[in-house]
Amino acid sequence: MSSSTSSEIVVEAKNLGKAFQLYAHRNDWLKQVLLGWWKAYFKPFWVLRDISLEVKKGESIGILGRNGCGKSTLLQVICGMTLPSHGELRVNGRIAPVLALGSTFDMELSGRENVLIGGAVLGLKRSEVLRKFDSIAEFAGIGEYMDQPVKHYSMGMRTRLAFSICAHVEAEILVVDEALSVGDAAFQRKCLDWIDNFRKTGTLLFVSHSMAEVRRLCTRAIWIEEGRIREQGDPNDVIRSYHRALLVEKDDVQRFSSGNAKQAAAGE
């Protein structure tokens, strides 16, 4: 098989673009449903534009960007959650999305039961989950709470459990989306140590607003702005330019709305 050559690149994106349909008025949506074949009543809202990206096996990519720049959408597309509007994507390997898993828990069920579901969602067999269960429980470190309904968990405990499941699915690609900020310092360190170790064998896609974490874990950083890659390369260089930009371009409250108007105008 040609796997020796193709397995080198685990994520390959070509000209990825993602647009949502944006309606100015509530009625426009109904018009689109009834008369969509005649003309479009929505403005395309481009969240991602022309993203081309190659991630090699064993790389650790840090993704930077301000809120709403398209980081999470990019990860969603890579995880196969949502289809790109144009472009092409190849992913080679089992993906474990860390933060995502915590919000899939069923509140009525116990931690133990959610471990079974979480494992299955990530493609593990029941027998595999059962075999690893003690190890998962130990890593999560939530003790007796394992048999309580998840609705009684704190946010931190949910994150602990979610991270612990993801740490045990033997993923080839780990997607960490601002996951660790809710855990306490000791657990954060445990997770970072684990990720550090994971990097020896797997590929990491890491979204964080903590530049120290990105510096420590990543071999390459990608800075995304308004759906495009603005800069990529050595983490130290990218972080420096990103910080400089943050100082100059103050937090603009009109950013989201004016961005929409600009894009709407561009869409016409």
Partner: protein, 280 residues
């Protein structure tokens, strides 16, 4: 760390092209199907006092009411020598199975929105997993049916062996429209109000409380366009045997309608499921 016994997983996405490996994915996620089915059963009677007993109480009371209203008050004829209560219950079983699958499965993608919006797996697993809940309740009802038949001294003959076939048919009748609705309701939430209405009306236009033979012969074929007619007829044929002969042309029509709706349901679901995460 990475075990070598598991084949590497590949995901190829191209805008506007259907995912060719979908059915292979479905097989790979078969364990998820069983776990979701088990979860649906486990959650169903959580925080209820009498738990699974609800699966006994509801069909039993419905049977008593229907027997009084249709058999005693309206004085509708039964089939052959069968007691009216058995006739009603033989219709109520498949109806409850099909209608609970239709209501559960059609809302299932929305109720599992937290899963759908956060992780990838073939979404069609979700509505199919809800079938198991209906089947568990159905098995409980079977026990009541056995009790009622024992009470009236009705002994089934070899026809009863065909019952599993009609159980499968009841599931198929329901899952087709349910898949269609589960996909549509994600975008058009209006259908959340349509499904309970369809179930409510369906109870009266399907031969649940009465025999399908009440319908005049010249309308029989047309009546069978409602696929539940075929299913319920089949159930009565299997349970009451010679007392309730199967009307074959009508049964064939019901089968055709079922097959068409199943095809339409799967097609609609497959075409829209990739967009679920954007709409939820």
């Amino acid at each position: 760390m990475i075990s070598s016994d598991r084949p590497s997983q590949r995901l190829i996405l191209e805008a506007g092209r259907a995912d060719r490996q979908y059915w292979r994915d479905l097989w790979r996620y078969r364990e998820l199907f069983f776990i979701l089915a088990w979860r649906d059963v486990a959650v169903r009677y959580k925080q209820t006092v009498i738990g699974l007993a609800w699966a006994f109480v509801r069909p039993f009371i419905t049977m008593v009411v229907f027997t009084i209203v249709f058999g005693k008050l309206a004085k509708l004829p039964t089939e052959g020598a069968a007691p009216y209560a058995v006739l009603v219950f033989a219709g109520l079983l498949p109806w409850t199975l099909a209608s609970s699958i239709l209501s559960d499965a059609s809302g299932s993608v929305l109720t599992n929105s937290q899963l759908v919006s956060k992780v990838y797996f073939p979404r069609i697993i979700i509505p199919f997993a809800t079938v198991m809940v209906g089947l568990v309740d159905f098995c409980v009802s079977l026990v009541i049916l056995a009790g009622v038949m024992l009470w009236y001294g009705v002994v089934p003959d070899w026809h009863i062996l065909m019952l599993p076939l009609f159980v499968a048919l009841a599931v198929l009748v329901a899952i087709g429209p349910a898949l269609w609705a589960a996909a549509i309701v994600v975008k058009y939430r209006d259908f959340r109000f349509v499904i309970p209405f369809v179930v409510q009306i369906g109870l009266y236009v399907s031969p649940v409380g009465f025999s399908a033979k009440v319908v005049p012969p010249e309308w029989q074929l047309l009546y069978s366009i409602n696929p539940m007619v075929g299913v319920i007829d089949g159930f009565r044929w299997a349970i009451l045997g010679g007392d309730s002969p199967l009307y074959l042309p009508g049964f064939a029509v019901s089968l055709l309608v079922t097959a068409f709706m199943l095809w339409l349901g799967i097609r609609t679901f497959r075409r829209t499921e990739r967009g679920f995460a954007d709409l939820i």
